[in-house]
Each structure stands twice: as structure tokens, then as C-alpha cells.
């Protein structure tokens, strides 16, 4: 829980610390057991949910800002963030009377119409994917909950955040066709069923096990080890690991993965 005075400080003094008119929204996807989730925050004393967002410090890089925002929410700082689109409809961040009342309740004071949090805001969208059990969600100063939601049952979000989420998912799925994914998302040694499940979950569709494995192996992205994982009452699958060299090259140069 964030201390009350930190919240008030943020509302009252943030205008000196952050760039006006600009924000960053991070769509953090969490992968876990064949489910794709997204990290959402609930506003204090309101039942509105939002993406993990924040502002850019006066002398801060965009990607640094996005990294900092996600770190504040999750504790993680080794996340592969991807800028995907900037959202700037003049009305996108329009605040209702209820939102202003809400801020006034928190600060126990009056909030002027030209308050920095009420200005038109252009938001730069970033997305990232993480193994969600690694994350320790922390609310931000304006929120009292920070939780994972299943991608298919996300509620109505504030502003245009449902749209931003949809665009992020589109961008992520598009990216998967040109760059590998999985490093930092899977354990160092993983099984074919594990990486197969990861791809199926992100793409939201079934992929033929045999063809899938054949492709990753023939591209040289993963290498079979001489070890197996014991998974209880079933045949023990072999372990694989990424060929970091080829993986990084594929990240940089792009590949064609026609799943």
C-alpha cells in the first residue's frame, strides 16, 4: 500500500518533476500455464481499472521511463520493452466530473481545472511479456490494487486503454512472426512442450507440435540437451536451451516464422 502523503505529493508536486502532456502506458503481458494475462491497476475509491502508466521525468529517456514505471509496479528490471504506438486523440484522456471529484477526495482539497493531471495527454505505448509468477504487483500512487487479469475477461478500462491493449496484443503477435521470444520468459533449460505452450498462448491458436519443434530446431534457435525433466506420472521430456548467439542474431536481423 502506498502511503497517503506520497499520493498527495504526486498529485500536487508532480508538475515540477514530469513532462506535461505526455505519459507512458505499459501493457505488461503475463504468461502462466497456458494463459495470457495483463497487469491492471484499480483506481483508489473507484472501480475503474487502467493499464500500468506513468509520466516521464524532465531529463529521462522514454525507454528508461517505461522501464522505471514497470519496475515500480513489478519489481522487475530485466524486461524486454517494446515501444509500439503513440496515442494522442485530444479526447482520449478526458476526465469526467467523477474523476475530478475523485482527485479532490484524495487530496482533500480542490483541484483546479488546469491541474497538470487534467491536461490533454499524449501517451506512448510500450508492451512487454513476463513470466507472471516472477512479479510482485505494487499499486501506484493513484491506485489501490494491482492485479493480473485474463486477457479475455478484461473489464472496461479508463480512457482508451482497452484500445491500447488491443493494439499492443496485435503488435506483440506481429512481432512474434519476426523475432524469437522466450529468453527470460522460460527457465534457462526448458522442454519442447513448455516453449510450444508459450507460443500457443501468445498467439492464441494451436500449433502443430512436430512442425513447431522442427522449425525452431532447423533455425538453430534451440538446442537439445542430454537431460530430461521429470514431470511425475508421464514420460520425461528432454530439456532444450536457446542458442543465445543465433537467438540474438534473429532478434536483431529479424526472421520469418510463419506459424
Amino acid at each position: 500500500m502506498i502511503p497517503e502523503n506520497e499520493t498527495i505529493d504526486f498529485i500536487e508536486k508532480g508538475h515540477k518533476e514530469f513532462l506535461h502532456h505526455l505519459s507512458i502506458d505499459c501493457v505488461l503481458f503475463g504468461y502462466h500455464e497456458h494463459q495470457l494475462k495483463v497487469l491492471l491497476l484499480k483506481w483508489k475509491e473507484s472501480d475503474k481499472w487502467s493499464l500500468a502508466g506513468g509520466f516521464i521525468k524532465l531529463e529521462e529517456n522514454l525507454s528508461e521511463a517505461a522501464t522505471r514505471i514497470l519496475k515500480e509496479r513489478t519489481g522487475l528490471d530485466e524486461i524486454f520493452l517494446q515501444q509500439f504506438q503513440t496515442f494522442g486523440e485530444p479526447k482520449r484522456s478526458h476526465r469526467s466530473k467523477a474523476d475530478i471529484d475523485h482527485l479532490e477526495t484524495i487530496t482533500k482539497g480542490s483541484v483546479p481545472a488546469d491541474h497538470w493531471l487534467l491536461k490533454r495527454t499524449v501517451s506512448i505505448g510500450y508492451y512487454a511479456v513476463t513470466e507472471y509468477s516472477k512479479v510482485n504487483p505494487h499499486p501506484d500512487p493513484l491506485s489501490d490494487k494491482c492485479e493480473w487479469w485474463e486477457i479475455d475477461s478484461v473489464p472496461k478500462l479508463i480512457f482508451d486503454h482497452n484500445f491500447i491493449l488491443a493494439e499492443a496484443l496485435k503488435a506483440l503477435r506481429m512481432q512474434i512472426y519476426h523475432q524469437p521470444i522466450g529468453y527470460n520468459l522460460l527457465p534457462e533449460k526448458f522442454t519442447l512442450p513448455e516453449i510450444h505452450d508459450l507460443y500457443e498462448t501468445i498467439l492464441g491458436k494451436e500449433l502443430d507440435r512436430r512442425n513447431f519443434a522442427k522449425k525452431l530446431i532447423s533455425l538453430g534457435l534451440i538446442k537439445k540437451l542430454n537431460e530430461r525433466r521429470s514431470i511425475g506420472a508421464h514420460r520425461s521430456p528432454f530439456l532444450y536451451k536457446f542458442d543465445k548467439r543465433k537467438y540474438d542474431k534473429a532478434l536483431k536481423d529479424g526472421i520469418i516464422l510463419a506459424f
Copy 2:
């Protein structure tokens, strides 16, 4: 030529009309006779060149702003603009002493350090492609020239504009693999050699004529007409036109064009 007082108005009063800290840079590619060009502006009383840029009005959409900026430079308003990346290094728009002197020369007055044009600026990048003979280049208030440059001989540009240009070209070439291009770039009826040349020029490489035509036809993107164009001393090529239905569907859903 822009009247002198318009320039001074822009410098002195722009802060009331535009969002601070934000700008738009447009990379306008011009296609003409197997050459790819880009529209650049030269700053007044300086030999620095830049991309076509501008600011966002207080109540204006991002894409409207980009369209307006390009229209001001080119007279065109039916351009297919594509947002591709947002650039926000804190130092990217750093102004040198010479730049400040330059503004002071134009306004014939002193420019305070916190002047709106000197603030840190995050720039939203858009690119577009046009047939360059349709364009009537007009300088902006800070520039005295607006000209096409060949993509391979672009000079050193201000700020990070060379980088923005390189990223725009990468994004354009990537997009060509997923979306068709040519509508509004070619005449309504065009020949196979014409569209073939367009693709070769944009991609910067040779494409087999026969395979190229086969692909566009088999995807149904273009349809052969029962007319030919007379091109002088050679065999008259057939005319084709886009199947707008399929073209738009391909724009929307994406296709795979592995050239």
C-alpha cells in the same frame, strides 16, 4: 516565401497555440522515375537541413496534425500517413548556441532560455510516400527552402533526423511486406512495368518481373484491363488497375508478400 512577420509570430506566439514538449516529424518519400527521394527543408540563414516537422495544436489529433503539416509543405491532403515511432531522447532536440543566435537573428530580439522552441521535445514520427511530381514544396516559417533530396545523398540533418529517416525507411520497407502499396501513388490505370518499378525503387533491389506480376495477380490485388498504353517506340504494355476491395482488405488484414 513565407512573410517575415509570420515567422516572428510563430516564434513568439506559438506557445499559446501548440502543445509544448511535442512535435511531429514527417518523412515524406517521393517516388519518381526509379528514384526514391525525401522532402527536406533548409533553415533560414543557416545551412542546416531538416525533415518536414511541426507542432500539434491544442485540440488537434496526431494524425490530423501530421496531415496538416504535410499539406502545408506540399499542398497534398490525400496522403496515406503512417505513424511509425516516437523519438524522445532528452538530448535529441538540444539547441546549440548557434541555433539560439539564429532565432535571435530572425526575431531581432532576445530569446529566453525557457522559450517554447528550446524545450525538450518528444517527436512523433510519420512517414508517407507520394508521387513527387504532384508536390509543390513550400518552406515552413523557420525555413527558406523545401526540396527533394535523393535518399542516398541526404546531407547531415539537424538533431536526430538522419536516424528518424533511417527508421522511417526501415519501417516503410517492412510495411511493404505486409501491406500493398501503390494506390494514390500510381495513376488509376497503370502498367506492370510501372508498378514493378515502384516496388523495386522502394525496396531498393531488383525483383523478377515475371514472379512479381504472378504474385500480385494471383493475390487478386491487380486486374488486367483490355487496354494498352502507347509508349512510343516499343510494344504497348497492358493496363492494370487495383481491385480496391481486395486491396483494402489486404491493407486492413495484412498479407505476406515475400519479395
